[in-house]
Point group: C2
Chain length 324, copies 2
């Protein structure tokens, strides 16, 4: 099978929302008047972002999910995406499963594959996603204000528990791993929550490198500091993990590390003024996602991590850096 | 140097045309009312699209040039681009040179770097470029009509001559290689010509895989056939090559292969009705590019290659396919 057959067989579908899709030099998109285009790119590399033996359907899902998560963090509605794919060889069953996983998530978000590139090389996926947001209404990292509450969606740390189990750094019974593994391999981008938070949240980011590290980007961009209660997110994870595995023995330190610095969660961390507390919970409920208050924005620069009694937590939380 | 320092040092510049650039979850672009957004993605892999020892400034240039060429083939004006970069390691002088080559070409086209991704992995570059074109005026592959003239810009085949010389398949004196090598490593995207051809050309494509192969995409998308005089493009290349190397002995077969199936030229192949002949030459002149008529669109499907006397050329022309 050649390059053009491969594109035609697995990645070409009737054009729906785009003016022109796969198969010309460019795709053509019409952006609704009054809307800005939100754009994000993520590259996934074998051995770095996924294991070589990953289920290709899960990989297809994740390649798009991590990009949709960036749209969610801006409060943008998904519109379309491009896929550039380097493949060591043409493996028909692998490609079929990959395309299925990718396009199933795309369909769920009415996000259309409009173009891309295929080439031979070490397995590498690059997705660029496009969304729309009313001009001036995007959720930015720079909007946090002193006194705002800090929230996180879902249960950060589940993805890292699964990763550590797969790497053999943590013992998880097979049934528990089976329950947590989708959080790592098929994360749910919080698109509906991001849309519901427009006009409610003052800033937002998605958790890809770890809750505290990503919150740090908000603080830096907003020129503020924060105090975070480490026990809140840790308790969320403890409750979830214990549902998964009554028999597993998680150290408190491990749980706290996973919850606060685990990464790969694709939950949203966001801030909102205290007056928006009810609106935040309404947005969470409307989008079927939990939002939990974990701290408050403060004037003093830096991030202070405390326990339930307000005492400083000594533990060091390293955020993920691809070149550290 | 960490991931965020790397982005800040080499790839973050003041935002100009975008509403929001590098450093948030998404970039935000405003698309001019009445315009469609043209989008294209290309991935470059070491060993496949460039040699490991390529000058990083040339690589930066080429990564963007091949994408701008897709905008040119649609008649779209460059607006912005994202860059996703997998690097084996952080090599400061390499990154500085790469960013210089990339951003110099970007500045020349007022095309702004608005976002992207960096990660560790085998060297891989993925650029996604955005342009604007008035709604309904994009040059498509599907617009060729029976009776249209077929043109090519510049001198297709020069890039392939340089490639074959670098691979040791062809003997070129060092001075000649030095003259032809920029055509391979720093191709000129025909953006100005693409813009000038709006309303003049009936279809267009850029030559990445080879003149005849890429023309074939136009014919297929337009449901027509064509007759191409092989001697015209071959003579263009012969004249250019002999300027480069009076002493080199190019076989006629080699020149014809390079001109008609060489690939990596990033020239435009386009069609236009005979009534537009003067307008085509005016567009070429206005954009400082040569446009040469090489054939005509015919009703019978398929591509017929003839010599100057109209006799069929027996030679087989294989277009480049990444998985063939």
């Amino acid at each position: 099978m050649g390059e053009f057959d491969l594109i035609a067989r697995y990645f070409t579908r009737p054009v729906r929302r785009a003016a022109l899709g796969v198969g010309d030099d460019c795709a053509l998109l019409s952006v609704t008047p009054g809307m800005q285009l939100a754009v994000s790119s993520d590259m996934l590399v074998e051995g770095r972002h996924f294991f070589a033996d990953v289920d290709p359907a899960h990989l297809g899902h994740k390649a798009l999910a991590v990009n949709l998560s960036d749209l969610a963090a801006c409060g943008a509605r998904p519109l379309a995406f491009t896929l550039a794919l380097a493949l060591p060889r043409v493996d028909a069953p692998w490609l079929q499963a990959f395309a299925d996983g990718l396009l199933r998530l795309a369909d769920a978000h009415q996000c259309e594959l409009v173009g891309g590139d295929t080439t031979q090389g070490p397995l590498n996926l690059c997705v660029t996603v496009f969304g729309e947001v009313p001009t001036g209404q995007a959720l930015l990292r720079s909007g946090a204000r002193v006194g705002d509450d800090i929230y996180v969606s879902g249960t950060p740390g589940e993805a890292r528990l699964a990763l550590d189990a797969l790497r053999g750094r943590l013992a998880l019974p097979p049934a528990a791993l089976q329950q947590l593994r989708p959080r790592l391999e098929q994360p749910t981008p919080r698109v509906a929550l991001g849309l519901a938070l427009r006009g409610v949240a003052s800033s937002a980011i998605d958790v890809s490198d770890g809750l505290l590290g990503d919150l740090g980007h908000i603080l830096k961009a907003s020129g503020v500091g924060a105090c975070v209660d480490a026990t809140v997110a840790t308790n969320l994870l403890a409750a979830s993990a214990q549902q998964a595995v009554a028999t597993a023995d998680f150290g408190a330190q491990t749980l706290m590390q996973c919850a606060l610095a685990g990464g790969d969660d694709y939950e949203l961390v966001f801030t909102a003024p205290p007056a928006q507390q009810a609106a935040v919970q309404a947005a969470a409920q409307a989008s079927g996602t939990r939002a939990t208050r974990i701290g408050r924005v403060e004037p003093a620069p830096g991030l202070r991590v405390v326990d339930g009694q307000g005492q400083p937590v000594a533990q060091h939380f390293a955020s993920f850096d691809h070149f550290a």
